[in-house]
């Protein structure tokens, strides 16, 4: 018998610290599988951010640094510029990337910095207990938009891929989801492509993964998946927004 599915090498033995049904775990596994498949475990540096995944350096079996809230793209830039042979990825939540770290992600993208960003959009601040994120949907109730997000008061949700796509910089931008096996496969392809482009020196790649936070959405894991499909995907359409090939005829 042949193993068709097992724990990837690029994951340590450490038990995930996520809630039951949290998609962070799925996304971790996909990143680890990609690292395995590309054989880059020995020169990958994980830049972890501040959010539920803050201790993901305990889970990825690679070198790692933990960056200040929002600043992972800057820290990753530092790593990459000083150690160009490393494969550097950040793993960031929506609060981290689209609120605190707005400037850092935009400028890393504009610079076409040769790093990979795994952007986990769960429309909420998971770690701190369910506050409104920049990506929280209109009408969505959170602990800091208790009456439902009202764009008059709390502003409009930000679509990160679309925002970055207005820049000349980035090489690859795709939004994916992991709400069913088909989409998990598509998500993995996107993550793999993002890493491959970095290996080829093509520049900035970002994969936005729509992700469930059952705990702070106050939904069961299954109901969360439905909410991803019905609500999140409606505002955040899946798809490739930018592909290096489109820009300069090769990939």
């Amino acid at each position: 018998m042949e193993v068709v599915f097992q724990r990837p090498q690029a994951l340590t033995e450490e038990k995930f610290s996520y809630c039951p049904g949290c998609h962070h775990g799925i996304i971790h596994r996909l990143v680890a599988e990609v690292i395995d498949e590309l054989g880059i475990i020995d020169n990958t540096v994980c830049v972890s951010s501040v959010g539920c995944s803050v201790v993901n350096y305990q889970f990825f079996a690679t070198d790692a640094i933990q960056a200040a809230h929002g600043r992972a793209p800057a820290a990753a830039t530092g790593v990459k510029r000083a150690s160009p042979d490393s494969i550097v990825f950040t793993y960031q939540g929506d609060g981290d990337l689209a609120a605190m770290g707005t400037a850092e992600i935009i400028h890393a993208a504009a610079r076409n910095e040769n790093i990979t960003v795994v952007f986990v959009n769960n429309a909420i601040y998971g770690m701190t207990g369910g506050q409104m994120a920049p990506t929280t949907l209109k009408g969505q109730k959170t602990t800091t938009s208790p009456y439902g997000r009202d764009s008059k008061r709390e502003g409009n949700p930000i679509r990160v891929c679309e925002l970055l796509n207005s820049l000349d910089g980035p090489a690859y931008l795709e939004r994916v989801s992991v709400h069913d096996p088909k989409h998990v496969i598509r998500a993995k392809k996107a993550i793999k492509k993002a890493f491959q482009l970095q290996v080829k020196g093509r520049g900035f790649s970002l994969v936005e993964v729509l992700s469930a936070c059952p705990t702070n959405w106050h939904l069961s894991p299954l109901a969360s998946i439905e909410w991803v499909q019905k609500e999140l995907m409606a505002y955040y359409p899946l798809g490739v927004f930018r592909e290096a090939g489109e820009v300069d005829g090769e990939c």
Partner: protein, 350 residues
């Protein structure tokens, strides 16, 4: 060569090849210099989108074991406080230059020494210390780049050069031969290629309070070690001085001129110049005031270092303060007059 440019050339001599910063008066000549020079020597100059981004780029580059430099002036240094605290917490060495200008807020762009507290007491959160060096000439500014990197690497701690706008802007002859190209020590803890070793991880996060306390204690012990071994100070005519003037940086040179004037009028004065501001040279100062009957602290601020002088002397001697602020500098004459006043008072007591 301008002080700011001298820092740049010294950084190259000290084996630094990475600079991340953001323009601000009066230190912009440094990034400008490196933007020109680094490409020639295979270094990376990157203008960040902000000082916040810059210090976090430094954090990342430092984690790879590289010698990395950033610089700014007062408001920009305030923005770096979170990042500095992170670097201290993760024990990542780096060199930070603060060419101070008047504050608070936007303040002005003229020289000041009003970031002493921020630099030495910890402008960021948490129990940490930054090694702070205070040069007094363009030559020293250059030399201390090497010293700063060496100390940072030795203790895995951020180091800072705290100069004022005068130092950054002024031109004096400078010689780089002396900057010993410190052998960049091998950093086994660096991230990058982990082939054949355990993986390296740098974090300042310790969720378990017991572990965080252990980490805090470990850091505190390191700081004690630094305080014991790395204090530096310069003395000028303190041996027999009845009045010791304490000042750092360029101000110490003004005080030297004032002391010379006082000596020429028969007043036995001397200058004590702390070179490390943290750790503050306590032993050295206590020795330097052995013969003294009065101490005068002079700063380009409303009085910050003077607290460390008082803390050190524990009330054993009267400590008077003279300061100018906002870009104004004490004149030789004014310092001389303060010395004279103290001298008269001391006589009065007799």
């Amino acid at each position: 060569m301008k002080g700011n440019e001298a820092i740049g050339e010294a950084a190259i001599a000290a084996g630094c090849r990475y600079f991340f910063g953001y323009p601000i008066t009066p230190q912009s000549e440094l990034p400008e210099y490196l933007a020109r020079r680094f490409p020639e020597v295979g270094g990376v100059y990157l203008q960040a989108e902000s000082e916040v981004a810059a210090i976090n780029m430094v954090y990342g580059a430092a984690a790879t074991g590289a010698r990395v430099l950033t610089s700014s002036s007062s408001p920009g240094i305030s923005l770096k406080q979170e990042g500095i605290s992170y670097a201290a917490g993760s024990e990542l060495p780096c060199l930070i230059v603060n060419i101070m200008r008047g504050g608070p807020g936007l303040g002005g762009i003229q020289p000041a020494q009003s970031d002493y507290f921020q630099a030495t007491k910890g402008g960021g959160h948490g129990d940490y210390k930054v090694i702070v060096l205070a040069p007094a000439s363009v030559q020293e500014l250059a030399d201390m780049v090497g010293t700063g990197f060496d100390l940072a690497d030795k203790y895995r701690n951020p180091a800072m050069i705290l100069g004022d706008g005068f130092l950054g802007q002024m031109m004096e002859p400078v010689d780089f031969a002396g900057i010993k190209k410190s052998k960049i020590v091998e950093k086994t803890w660096a991230v990058g290629c982990k082939k054949g070793r355990e993986r390296n991880v740098h974090t300042s996060l310790y969720l378990d309070p017991e572990e965080l306390e252990k980490h805090n204690i470990k850091l505190a012990q390191k700081y004690e070690l630094i305080a014991e071994n790395e204090t530096m100070a310069q003395e000028y005519l303190t041996e027999d001085a009845e009045i010791v003037v304490v000042a750092y940086g360029l101000v110490a040179r003004i005080c030297k001129a004032a002391v010379e004037k006082a000596r020429s009028e028969g007043i036995r004065a001397g200058v004590f110049r702390p070179i490390t501001l943290w750790p503050f040279p306590q032993k050295e100062l206590r020795k330097a005031v052995a013969a003294a009957r009065g101490v005068l602290a002079v700063e380009m601020s409303m009085g910050q270092m003077v607290e460390d002088v008082r803390l050190c002397l524990e009330g054993r001697l009267p400590v008077r303060f003279y300061g100018r602020a906002g870009g104004m500098a004490p004149t030789t004459q004014a310092v001389y007059e303060e010395i004279k006043k103290i001298s008269l008072e001391c006589k009065g007591v007799e």
